[in-house]
């Protein structure tokens, strides 16, 4: 099985790049595999960002996320990796990802990662 690749992400030009505004996408259908038990994990990803020059295209984002369906990855790894892939592709002014996983063994875990670019003077 091949590794998930950021090459599947596609972008389009930010139509209002002179203004800081937030786009938030909620994906309640994220699933990956636990590398330890081989069992599927399920979670909801909430991706928020302030675009600089590029916005992500939603259908391509969906295909990118589906690559994790049969990919083994720990919670902490996969959330940080998705942030890295999106930041590398979009170079956003700011981005945050919250990943909330369903309970396992009576414990529910979420991971929140954030990329702080340069929103402060972005629109100047």
């Amino acid at each position: 099985m091949t590794e998930p690749s950021r090459d599947l992400l596609e972008t389009f030009d930010n139509p209002y790049s002179d203004r800081d505004y937030v786009v938030e996408t909620v994906c309640p259908e994220f699933t990956s595999m636990c590398p330890k038990t081989g069992q599927p994990d399920f979670g909801t990803l909430t991706i928020s960002y302030v675009a600089d020059q590029k916005c992500y295209e939603l259908k391509a984002l969906k295909f990118y996320l589906q690559q994790y369906r049969n990919h083994g990855a720990f919670y902490e790894d996969v959330t940080n990796r998705i942030l890295d892939d999106l930041v590398a592709t979009l170079a956003p002014r700011w981005m945050s990802i919250v990943a909330e996983y369903t309970p396992r063994g009576g414990l529910s875990t979420s991971v929140t990662v954030e990329f702080e670019g340069s929103t402060d003077d972005a629109a100047d």
Copy 2:
């Protein structure tokens, strides 16, 4: 099909222009067309603003928003455009629009835009 025009917006004099106060209007019945697929999109707009000299008239706002019913526009475009139209018409001290769209392909997207005028010394 003609373009949505800000000319449909109507205003009345702010009856308490010496005070900063917030008016918020929620429109859960916003709909436009996806320019790519030709399919209808649905969303809830939440418009908040601090009026300076002018307030928007609600019935005219409704007619203005209904212009998007058969108009093709991406999420990011339409939200920013409505902000531009309202700011141009009202010259408010502050305004924000949150547009929350219903899920497509398992992904739900919202767009939050903000206009920062001069609320700080507005009532001075």
Copy 3:
């Protein structure tokens, strides 16, 4: 039909005037008339304040608000007017009113007004 009068408001001495504390009263049964259409409007008022020397008496507040039942007034007007009446009567250290109206034509509107007195050094 006579105008609503602030004379119906009654006060009692703030029993703990050396301390800043917040009293909040929610009135989900506020109703007035639209001056344009002659149709009734319905809303929920949330009044919050930090009393200085006087607190409002609740039964009198109820009678004061009932004066608007058959009175024509726009959302922005009536909310600001009630704030003015209460501030004039109580001289509070701080007060805020949030008026949330039920939907008309698919649009729901709320108005938030605030009076900033001198809470910072109020208890000094």
Copy 4:
């Protein structure tokens, strides 16, 4: 503007026609036009049925329902008409449609229609 046509509906063979089972489809994005005011109406359709020989195809159902987007029709008419179209196309053992419309003038209306075929001896 042409009339909505049941010809857009498509069916496939019921894969388990020897068993009575219920399929329910919820469409929270239904919209039509009020023939009196020319204003858009919005509602949620819930279609439930026990198929006999044919099931509806979901994408075609979506296109069928989108025909009402710019079509003028009263609540009672449109709900009964959709039932008639689906019953004529599917000849189901049983079908029910609940249409819940958003509030207008402070009043919310729903319409519930039902087609009773022959579920009792259907699987005999």
Copy 5:
């Protein structure tokens, strides 16, 4: 002040009178006066019916219900009276009204009335 009159109700021909189907209208903005205390009462009316030959027109229903705004009536009276007015005007196959009033003195009261016509053989 004049008595509420059923003459304000208007009807239109049931477009599908050969089928029993249910129309339900929710009015969360009903208000009347307590004849004992002179204080306003507030409630939510839910009217459900199976039309025979006539359906009520919604705007006229709204005006009919607004007649109670300044009319004194006990909960039990007003609910039964509205049922009587609607039954006399529509001659429905079946009708039910649920009136849920907001709390007074820590007690919340609802009244449920029903008219049973002849739904069983209605569509025969």
Copy 6:
């Protein structure tokens, strides 16, 4: 401390005694004392009934229920007793009381009692 007495209950003539209809009163502020521990109990009473010739007056019902404030009684006793008092006073066609008590020791208890009169032929 005196025993709670049904003499505090007051009635008025059922204005629509030729029709079976349901009146429901919810009292979320019921409190009594545990006879074993001397500690206060708290619960919500929901009283529903079909009146025959008499309806209960709400303010008197409130005073009747307040008699239990400092009265010691087990859950099962007090619920059945209130039913007996109301049935004896109103002679209703049907009555039910649901008493839901707040948790004690991690256990929440409710008691549901019912009086079945003669609703079937009541309106004949």
Copy 7:
């Protein structure tokens, strides 16, 4: 570790044994051990019954249920066993137990058991 014993249950005389009424007790703090994995299970028990001559005492019921805290038992076993113990002790006219367990491995399980005595002629 000793087996849970029904001897810890205590009863008192049903104060209204000539009337069928329902007592429901919700225990959201039930816990036992999985006999296979040795891991704790957690669930909410809802016990409902119509008493004949005896009611259970709540504090003793709590102690009876706490016996399962370190006792290994499958979901199906423990729910049926508690029903058997309560029926043997109370000889109720009717009883039902619903046990809803928290998710394990992404699956949530509940067990519903019922004892049908002789409620029909119980109060005759």
Copy 8:
């Protein structure tokens, strides 16, 4: 890719086969593939049954359901097929499966299937 097989299901002896009782298992993490688009579908399965001689083992049920993860199947097919597999393996007295799928194209679909065995005289 191999077909999902009912051989992965495991059973254990019903410990209380002389009593009809209901076991319900909710699986909010069911996922399969749309055979038309190749896109993943997500849903919640609720399986309820009255066991006769055999109960399903939960961990084996989980593995059985995971077989559909990369298997293409329409909603109607997969729900009926799972019912057939479970009925063939358990020979239950009664079983029902409700499958609720997440929205696609603005439409949410659920499928409810039921197997009626012989619960009536089951415990005789």
Copy 9:
């Protein structure tokens, strides 16, 4: 009837006095008497504090609050008084009390009081 006394409060030594941490206790069963009408009031108290050297004992807190059961006091008075009693007994680094009362005459009132000690350098 005697006045509520802070002497019923009991304390124990803060086991972690070198760390600022928050303890919050919610009492949904608070009740007192209206000194004007003699009618009972009901509310929910939420007490939060950062202990310095002493923590309150929960059972004693319960008995302290029960003293208000038959004690007449206005909302503003009783909330401030309880704060004063707790601050005098515990000498906390910070404390806040929110008292939310149930609706009277259609108006719901809450009172929020706060004691600001010296949390900033508390743990230094």
Copy 10:
């Protein structure tokens, strides 16, 4: 019975130690014993932290928390102790624990503790 030991906790290397990100684990199945009454307590723990070099392993965390099942400890003690154990084992940049216990005697209590490390310059 032995004391709960932090030795059961296990860690793994933080895979993204150059970035501050938050991991939150919710445990709704925490239970311990009241040292005063010997009765079980139940609560929900929410543990949040910013890892420095080490992350906790979830299964080991579960076993660590299960040690409190038959261990007597007051609310304030156990929450602070768990924080101390986790901080000693992980040396996190920041950590917070919120423990919300179920109601006892009508009072619900929560305890919130926080460890402030050096998040500010952590990722520099």
